[in-house]
Amino acid sequence: MSAPAISVEGVGQTFGKRVIFQNVSFDIAVGEIFVVLGGSGCGKSTLLKQMIGLLSPTAGQITVLGHDVARETDAVRRSIGVMFQSGALFGSMTLIDNIMLPLALFTDLPLAARQDIARLKLALVGLADAENLLPSEISGGMAKRAAIARALALDPPLLFLDEPSAGLDPITGAGLDRLILDLRAALDCTFVVITHELQSIFAIADRCVMLDREAQGMIALGVPAELRRSSDNATVQAFFNRQPTVQPRGA
């Protein structure tokens, strides 16, 4: 069996006396689309920050592509691309400049080559005709697509996406899910996706881990469909089979 892309071992995070989660452990295989899910405030984004080296865990160890995130942060960051929840595009740069930035910083490619590559990435996320627009001139869905293109700029083997479909209409959200599957098929990279959108989870996830605020840790790990079918945890069942508290009109 090949080494996992990410290994999370007994990881915990506290802020003062407040425990966010503790004893979280799982492995993510190379080429897998792995979803971290859970309700608001359960620590999904905190776990993401730990995995990308923005936050040191107060307990445990995270290894990304064989590198200890806490001690070899730079090596980890050279191997990952991150799409932040807001997109975090640089507002003073056009979309193509946003994508060319990592290429200019970390490669010796000539300008024409950087432009060619950036255009290709934009085309890959369906934004070929928007390269000269500023982030303030595009929609939320386009910003998320552009952020994915920027995360892909250096073709990292590992991509972290923080709530890619949050706040998007169902069609755009489904389009992003399709894009993630297409990118995995085309580039064979590993995805870690933070989300609590059920449709998205079932559409893209090979496996998932579920965090829970009450339990202060993980309460489920596995294939989403199997968890929905066979988990005996009440919170997991409530999450996967949630019923609307307000009956739809006409029901």
């Binding site: 490619l109 290709l120 070929a128 005709d129 700029a153 085309a186 580039l187």
Partner: protein, 361 residues
């Protein structure tokens, strides 16, 4: 990571580009230009990728760029199924023809007329909001007003005291040199006092207020505009002029006379310090100041500072509330507030000079 290698061979009248190593973003830089230059030749071209370890999208971009640069058919050799699939997918994603080049928004500037209209309109809306204030007092928040006044006034006191003291000293020293030639050094006290009360006190306080507070108003309101907080207020039925502009203007107007007085006093102390160094006793200096100035000099300066405060507050708020989108707009709003504020106080000062002269004040 190993660097990618490119070997260019000529066989049977055609050219073979033989790639070795990883074709990735970090590895392909040395061979990009050479590969494209070779591809432009009209001879038959073969791309040999049997020795290429891996091809990512940047590597694929290079291969597609070669394909575009070469007008004739290319023979591909050594591509795996996955690589062929990647290239096919990327070819399909790329738009045909030149990319659409919409005009970037950054070069779109408001016309002078439109800018003037916005500024006059904002001024008018603020006046209307002020007139309608008695009916909208519930929109004002006392705590917010005192927070603004504290930031604009109390927190500026150390800076004002230091600036005033230093300006008083500098003025006294600079004036003493020519005055000494006429044996009129004692009149330095009168000169500095009149300058401070009528001109320098309000002007310096206004520059400090424009730099510290006008820019802060613009940045704060600009961020609120970008975050749609202003739109949220409007949809609640609250006009931003009442809730955001009037408290800031009032805070600026409230603190400006106090700051001006602070600069006047600190400036007189600085001047007194220099006069003592020059050998004049404090009584003589105080007497000279009392003789040369009258309360109306001080009051005229304080009145001017009140107007300057209103102008700086108004310009800062206007810059923030009319900011465009994105973080750059917030920076531009802050710059506009400082530049606009300083220009406005200089113009107003000139206007006051003419009016006071005509009125004999």
């Amino acid at each position: 990571m190993n660097a990618a290698q490119l070997e260019i061979r000529t066989e049977g009248g055609g050219t073979i580009l033989c790639f070795t190593g990883p074709l990735t973003a970090r590895a392909i830089a040395p061979l990009w230009s050479r590969a494209l230059a070779t591809a432009k030749a009209p001879t038959p071209l073969t791309l040999d990728l049997a020795q290429a370890e891996m091809i990512d999208t940047s590597g694929a971009a290079l291969l597609l760029a070669i394909e575009r640069a070469h007008d004739h058919t290319i023979t591909w050799h050594g591509l795996t199924d996955a690589q062929t699939k990647l290239l096919t997918q990327l070819r399909a994603a790329l738009p045909q023809g030149a990319p659409i080049m919409p005009a970037p928004a950054t070069i779109v500037r408001r016309s002078l007329w439109r800018t003037l209209l916005i500024r006059v309109g904002f001024f008018g809306e603020t006046i209307l909001a002020t007139l309608a204030l008695p009916r909208k007092l519930r929109f004002l928040r006392g705590a917010e007003f005192f927070r603004l006044a504290d930031r604009a006034g109390t927190q500026a006191v150390p800076l004002v005291a230091m600036m005033g003291f230093l300006i008083g000293m500098i003025l006294a020293f600079q004036s003493a040199i020519p005055m000494r030639q006429f044996g009129a050094e004692i009149y330095v006290a009168a000169l500095v006092a009149i300058s401070l009360f009528r001109e320098l006190g309000p002007l310096l306080a206004a520059v400090i207020l424009a730099g510290r507070t006008g820019s802060a108003f613009a940045a704060e309101l600009g961020t609120m505009r970008v975050n749609e907080e202003v739109d949220a207020l409007v949809t609640m039925g609250v006009d931003p002029e009442t809730m955001l502009v009037i408290p800031r203007m009032a805070a600026a107007m409230l603190v400006m006379p106090a700051l001006t007085l602070g600069i006047d006093i600190a400036g007189l102390l600085g001047m007194g310090f220099v006069m003592m160094i020059l050998g004049f006793p404090p009584d003589a200096v105080i007497g000279q100041v009392q003789m040369a100035t009258s309360p109306h000099d001080l009051l005229l300066g304080l009145f001017k500072s009140l107007v300057f405060g209103a102008a700086i507050g108004l310009i800062g708020c206007r810059a923030g509330l009319t900011a465009g989108g994105g973080p750059r707009a917030v920076g531009e709003a802050a710059t506009s507030a400082v530049v606009g504020g300083i220009v406005a106080i200089i113009l107003l000062d000139g206007l006051f000079a003419v009016i006071f002269y005509r009125l004999g004040l």
